[in-house]
């Protein structure tokens, strides 16, 4: 039987060992936080400053496109920004262009209502889900009250006190979108451009590069990239919560990925060299 050298052994490690290592790398910092430093992205600070400068009582639309795939990255953003908006007594209208996002919109409204003692219909309301994705956003922009004529319970929107006098998308002072596909870009296209309503994008980390051209051109007033954006916003609010707690664990998981790439590449190169020496 051929004697295996260390590089051959390393390059054939069982995947299950890596899975176990990953679990350990994630769980340990969750139980014992490492207190690693955190930077605040400029585009997240821009979002914070924009909201901070909003007049009290502004009407704001939250498009909650969160789903189980994006929840870990955008849910903490939604909670943090909701708290900031309500500290400025903004009136919040929640909706979703993602069929799976409506329960998240309902839950966000419920959490904020409980925390701030809000009255449904007066301070906050949920318009629910409308199908069509970009077409639904275009429908919101074109004739808001035709498409969103009833809230998620079926009550006529015209009877909600907070929406009395609101007749079009242009009446909103800000739109914050929590990513579902390219939803923030849809809002920038159909509402931000034509109606000049500012848009802030809460996005996944992997979508942040796609948001940058719109941030640079002024279509977005701010971008929150993934869990870092959420944690940075919590830091700016001086209220660390879910996003901050998960950062250390995320970092350790990423360290394992990098070590895997490095060791895997080194093992392959050294193993090939050892083989050619033997030959």
């Amino acid at each position: 039987m051929e004697k295996r050298d260390i590089w051959s052994t390393l390059s054939r490690i069982d995947a299950k060992l890596l899975y176990a290592l990953l679990a350990v790398f994630i769980i340990v910092p969750l139980i014992k936080p490492l207190g690693l430093p955190m930077s605040i992205p400029a585009e997240t600070r821009a979002a914070y400053d924009f909201i901070d400068a909003l007049p009290d009582g502004s009407l704001v639309l939250l498009s909650v496109g969160t789903d189980p795939q994006t929840e870990a990255e955008t849910w903490a953003q939604a909670i943090a920004m909701g708290r900031h908006l309500l500290s400025k007594k903004c009136n919040l209208v929640l909706m979703s262009v993602n069929s799976v996002g409506q329960p998240y919109a309902e839950r966000l409204a419920s959490i904020l209502q409980e925390e701030f003692g809000l009255e449904y219909g007066q301070d906050i309301c949920v318009l629910g889900f409308r199908a069509g994705e970009e077409t639904a956003v275009a429908g919101f922009a074109g004739d808001f009250l035709t498409l969103y004529n009833a809230d998620y319970k079926g009550a006529p929107v015209k009877e909600l006190p907070m929406l009395k006098g609101v007749s079009s998308a242009a009446d909103f002072k800000l739109i914050i979108d929590y990513q579902y596909k390219a939803s923030a870009i849809w809002f920038a296209r159909h509402v931000g451009g034509p109606h000049k309503v500012p848009v802030i994008a809460g996005s996944r980390a992997s979508s942040a590069p796609n948001m940058m051209p719109y941030y640079a051109s002024g279509d977005f007033k701010g971008v929150l990239p993934g869990i870092q954006g959420g944690a940075a916003y919590e830091r700016l609010l001086q209220r660390p919560d879910q996003a901050t707690k998960g950062l250390d664990a995320q970092s350790m998981g990423l360290i394992l990925v990098i070590l895997s790439v490095l060791i895997g590449n080194v093992a392959t190169v050294m193993g090939a060299q050892a083989k050619s020496k033997k030959a």
Binding site: P213, L247, V261
Partner: protein, 208 residues
């Protein structure tokens, strides 16, 4: 025949032209008509959502009716909660306790876990498959490593300049390429929209 080929294209053309007219022209009644057509499109999208789910029911009903025991069990495992959700949702609304519990504890937990499984496979792939073989791959890998470490808190801990470098990569070279990509994409969208309007592009009809 007319219903299969020409009528769908004609109906699409009329609807699309009204929406396009509402965008380019300022006539209030045309804009109102365009908004109405767009809202009709969203209504059809809602029907499409229901259609998709009903197709799921149809496929799994066939599975649950015949086949190996595990396939039948899997088919039932899909149909039973689906029916429960529909009955409760349509009678008591999405805020009903049982509806919310099933959504949170069955769907949310399961779906989030499926996506999180990728993390394990990423580590395994990083070890076995991520190899630098040429200049393009090297650049790809370096940018990837910067994206992984820079924004993460470990990056700032290892080297204070890493977040600064990551920010520069995101907002300069990457942004430039993405902007070029977005402009190219816009040209593609305009071209595709025009082709769809004129009935040249008919892939979305599906088969037959």
């Amino acid at each position: 025949m007319f219903i299969r080929k020409q009528l769908p294209v004609l109906v699409g053309f009329v609807g699309g032209i009204i929406v396009l007219g509402g965008f380019f022209l300022t006539d209030p009644s045309l804009r109102k008509a365009a908004s109405t057509v767009v809202s009709w499109r969203t209504t059809l999208a809602a029907f499409a959502l229901v259609l998709g789910a009903m197709n799921l029911v149809k496929v799994n009903w066939n599975r649950a009716s015949a086949g190996k025991p595990i396939d039948r069990l899997a088919g039932l495992a899909l149909l039973v909660p689906l029916v429960i959700m529909v009955v409760i949702g349509l009678t008591s609304g999405t805020t009903a306790k049982v509806y919310a519990y099933m959504y949170d504890n069955v769907y949310r937990s399961g779906a989030a876990t499926v996506f999180s499984l990728n993390a394990f496979f990423v580590v395994s792939a990083a070890y076995r498959a991520f190899r630098i073989r040429n200049a393009h791959a090297a650049l790809f890998m370096v940018a990837g490593l910067i994206a992984v470490l820079g924004p993460a808190s470990i990056g700032a801990y290892l080297w204070g300049q890493l977040p600064v470098i990551a920010d520069w990569v995101l907002k300069v070279p990457s942004m430039g390429a993405t902007r070029g990509f977005e402009i190219g994409l816009a040209l593609g969208i305009v071209s595709m929209g025009a082709r769809t309007l004129l009935g040249i592009e008919r892939g979305y009809f599906g088969g037959e």
